[in-house]
């Protein structure tokens, strides 16, 4: 069975990859990608069942934080029922999205700003080294250079140093990192294509 799944996965991967280069394989590639999209849609349902299962267990076992689990399940069921009855494009469903979900995520983003500032302050205590100092000085210069002040940009920092850091140093560094990530992704993809790594089960 494990060999069978590996053969199917490797064949599907090779056909999808081949479809980018050989026009004769393009229809097969499209078909396989469409199947993948449908399966990904079905996986959302499985993911929701998983979420319900995990939080139901927490409530049943009276684990720490089970009140939040109960709240999550109630919100899930109520939203699901309303969406089924009213349809997802109904005004009430839009209010749920724009009045609850988006503000909550925006609040988390705001919280993140504070936690990042706190992390930057503690960085030198955690890791007192040259790169930490460079990191902090760069961050400070960029913040100063981007600040909206009544008298406009801070001379030199806003007009020369910030653009030079972002468009020369940071851009070059970012491209280097992204090339490294792309090479890593390529070799990881090849390992999966060869069946050396099997994230679809089996040993």
């Amino acid at each position: 069975m494990r060999v069978f799944t590996a053969v199917i996965a490797i064949a599907a991967g090779a056909l999808v990859l081949g479809g980018y280069f050989l026009p004769v394989l393009a229809p097969v590639q499209t078909l396989l990608l469409n199947w993948a999209t449908i399966l990904a849609g079905a996986a959302v349902l499985v993911g929701i069942f998983n979420l319900v299962s995990v939080h139901s267990d927490k409530i049943r076992r009276h684990e720490k934080g089970n009140a939040y689990s109960a709240l999550l399940l109630m919100a899930l069921i109520v939203t699901f029922l309303f969406a089924m009855i009213l349809r997802p494009d109904h005004i009430i469903m839009k209010v749920v999205l724009s009045g609850i979900i988006i503000p909550v995520e925006a609040a988390l983003m705001g919280l993140l700003t504070i936690s990042l500032l706190y992390a930057a302050v503690r960085l030198l205590r955690r890791r007192a080294e040259l790169m930490s100092i460079v990191f902090l000085i760069t961050a400070a210069l960029l913040i100063l250079g981007s600040a909206t002040l009544p008298f406009g940009n801070i001379p030199v920092i806003g007009t020369f140093i910030r653009p030079w850091i972002t468009q020369v140093l940071a851009l070059g560094g970012a491209r280097g990192i992204l090339i490294g990530v792309a090479l890593g992704a390529l070799t990881t993809g090849l390992r999966v294509l060869f069946g050396a790594d099997r994230p679809y089960g089996g040993n």
Binding site: L17, Y20, F21, L33, A36, A40, A43, V44, L45, V46, G47, I48, N50, L51, S53, V54, D57, E63, G65, Y68, I101, V104, E105, L108, M109, L111, L112, S115, L116, Y118, A119, A120, R126, R127, F135, G176, I177, L178, I179, G180, V181, A182, L183, G184, A185, L186, T187, T188, G189, L190, R191, V192, L193, F194, A196, D197, P199, Y200, G201, N203
Partner: protein, 243 residues
């Protein structure tokens, strides 16, 4: 067609180097974060605490799949190593497809350790479908489930900061790697030893996941040298007016 040639040559080299590495494993340079991860794995089994692997919200159907697959490879190894622990590892995902693969990968790890009966399907979880929703759900695991180390590996943006903050509040060991630049910057500021760039893909090789992982590191080095030579050659050609 150039891309196809690069892929075919890389595939051939990976195959040859894998065979070579089976016979003569290489010495790896020290990466402090991965040394810490190796140590943390052993400690968590000894002191009966849990590891949490955060795989992020990268989908396998787009360009972010590479880091996600690297995270799954690491999870497979961690699941195998910690399956016999009193408190086996948990993993969280922010994408439903990834959630399914998380469960499957963990089960494969338990099978490899010969303790499939100990596998609990809820140890692989989908905690949210948006980046911040995922982070909020994973934070709850960190706070409530006796976790001693949080391993963040996969596709993460700034939301990694929330997970890092929650880990710090619970005095956990935090090891973080992301393929996204903003995620890397956040993790650099929040972790003791950050993994930068392609170091994300080296975790499997450093934890002894096999010859293919060592071979892919060597292949990355070879390809990197080709890229460096191409960049320098291009710059020189531009300088002398050839291109």
């Amino acid at each position: 067609m150039n891309e196809l040639i690069v892929i075919l040559v890389s595939a051939f080299l990976l195959f040859v180097i894998t065979l070579w590495k089976r016979k003569s494993p290489s010495n790896l340079r020290e990466i402090p974060a991965l040394t810490r991860l190796y140590r943390t794995l052993g400690l968590s089994i000894e002191d009966g605490t849990r590891l949490h692997v955060s795989l992020g919200n990268g989908s396998l159907l787009d360009a972010r799949g590479g880091s996600t697959l690297a995270g799954l490879a690491l999870l497979r190894h961690i699941a195998e190593r910690t399956s016999v622990s009193d408190k086996p590892s948990v993993a969280s995902a922010g994408d439903p497809t990834l959630g399914l693969l998380t469960q499957d990968t963990m089960q494969a790890g338990y099978q490899a350790a010969g303790v499939q009966e100990l596998y609990v399907p809820t140890s692989g979880r989908v905690t949210g479908l948006s980046p911040f929703g995922y982070a909020a759900g994973a934070m709850s695991i960190l706070q409530n489930e006796n976790i001693s180390a949080n391993i963040i590996i996969g596709h993460f943006g700034p939301e990694a900061g929330l997970l890092a903050e929650a880990s710090d509040r619970e005095n956990m060991v935090l090891i973080g790697a992301s393929d996204e630049l903003s995620g890397q910057a956040v993790l650099f500021a929040n972790t003791q030893d950050a993994l930068i760039g392609e170091e994300l893909f080296a975790a499997g090789a450093y934890l002894g996941a096999g010859a293919s992982h060592l071979a892919s590191l060597t292949l990355q080095d070879i390809l990197r040298w080709f890229v460096i030579l191409a960049l320098l050659g291009g710059a020189a050609a531009k300088l002398i007016g050839v291109i």
